[in-house]
Symmetry: C2
Subunit: 200 residues, 2 copies
């Protein structure tokens, strides 16, 4: 930390952003997304709370930046919570493909790098996924909600890996409707379909 | 390269292994697995061909080491080619889980690191998967064989990512029968089931 310790004295923009991202990872990890406040994070970073809005558009954007999530987390939460159960997978898949394709895969690579190298980012990502999807699945009353969330994550992240990192054809260039028909169906089965575990 | 250029003069063991791995990646990439010979690779590495058997147990083992594949590639090829069509996914899945679990996930992480950082290793891995699975799927006469191979790869690699790198529970600790029931069924659909693309 090279910026002054004295409160209210702001370092240059990039320093402010870096300090906020670092503080955000720490506070989100300690207090969770809902418990963490803009005020606490700004205080930890020793910058004015208004800087969170200025640089990240608010808590949602700061969280997304902290874990390199390429999508507004609130948009994902709304999609998961407001879609008819049988359409959740397709809508989430279309959202991610759209955003990742727009960044030529850089968005997915950044998310993976962040999760693979920063345990705090990995923990935040796990919690965001578990909370967002887990809450909805519990509302729907399906069996094995936590297992379903991780199965969903395994197929979505594997798609990212093959399409954007390994760039293996023809999956790397497949159009979104092909992905929805093939992978979307898997994702939907993981969320609300028969898992094949029997007796439940 | 620090070892002597003169043929027949062998550097120390670790140098020999490193030279062979480097030469193997180059020759396998240029000539493919079947075209590459032990003699050519040893010649490129400027070591005695007997060193390939000594250090890697032969061409199969050298290939596996070159791309950090945790399994004997010939074992995978035999499994894919000799299993009844409807059992390929389960058998391959059980093989990989067994090997990856034994290495506490280190084997999967090494494979990913290798593929993500060395384009030659990524290319070899892509070709090995495409050849092994693609050949069998063409024999079986299914539609979209190349797309099926990459879909299979996306779910298998995503399982590795969540189970061994992100270590997200409960998937990280799920027993192999749970994985076969849930993910094995997806993998089998990708190989021989209805892809949902319609009209084919």
């Amino acid at each position: 930390m090279t910026h002054p310790k004295r409160r209210g004295r702001r370092p240059a923009g990039e320093d402010t952003k870096a300090a906020l991202l670092s503080a955000a990872r720490a506070v989100f990890t300690e207090q969770g997304f809902d418990g963490a406040t803009v005020r606490t994070i700004a205080s930890r970073a020793e910058v004015d709370p208004a800087m969170v809005n200025h640089w990240f558009g608010g808590k949602q954007g700061l969280f997304a930046a902290a874990i390199q999530l390429p999508v507004d987390p609130e948009q994902i939460r709304m999609t998961v919570h407001n879609s008819p159960p049988e359409e959740i997978a397709e809508r989430v898949l279309r959202t991610f493909i759209s955003v990742w394709d727009d960044s030529s895969g850089g968005g997915f690579a950044a998310l993976m790098r962040s999760a693979a190298t920063q345990e705090s980012a990995a923990k935040l990502l796990r919690e965001f996924i578990a909370t967002t999807f887990g809450t909805r699945l519990r509302e729907l009353g399906v069996d094995h909600p936590d297992l379903r969330v991780t199965l969903f994550g395994s197929q979505l992240s594997g798609l990212g890996l093959v399409r954007y990192v390994l760039r293996q054809e023809p999956l790397a260039s497949a159009d979104v409707d092909t992905l929805v028909a093939t992978i979307g169906r898997t994702l939907q089965r993981y969320l609300t379909g028969d898992l094949g575990l029997g007796g439940e």
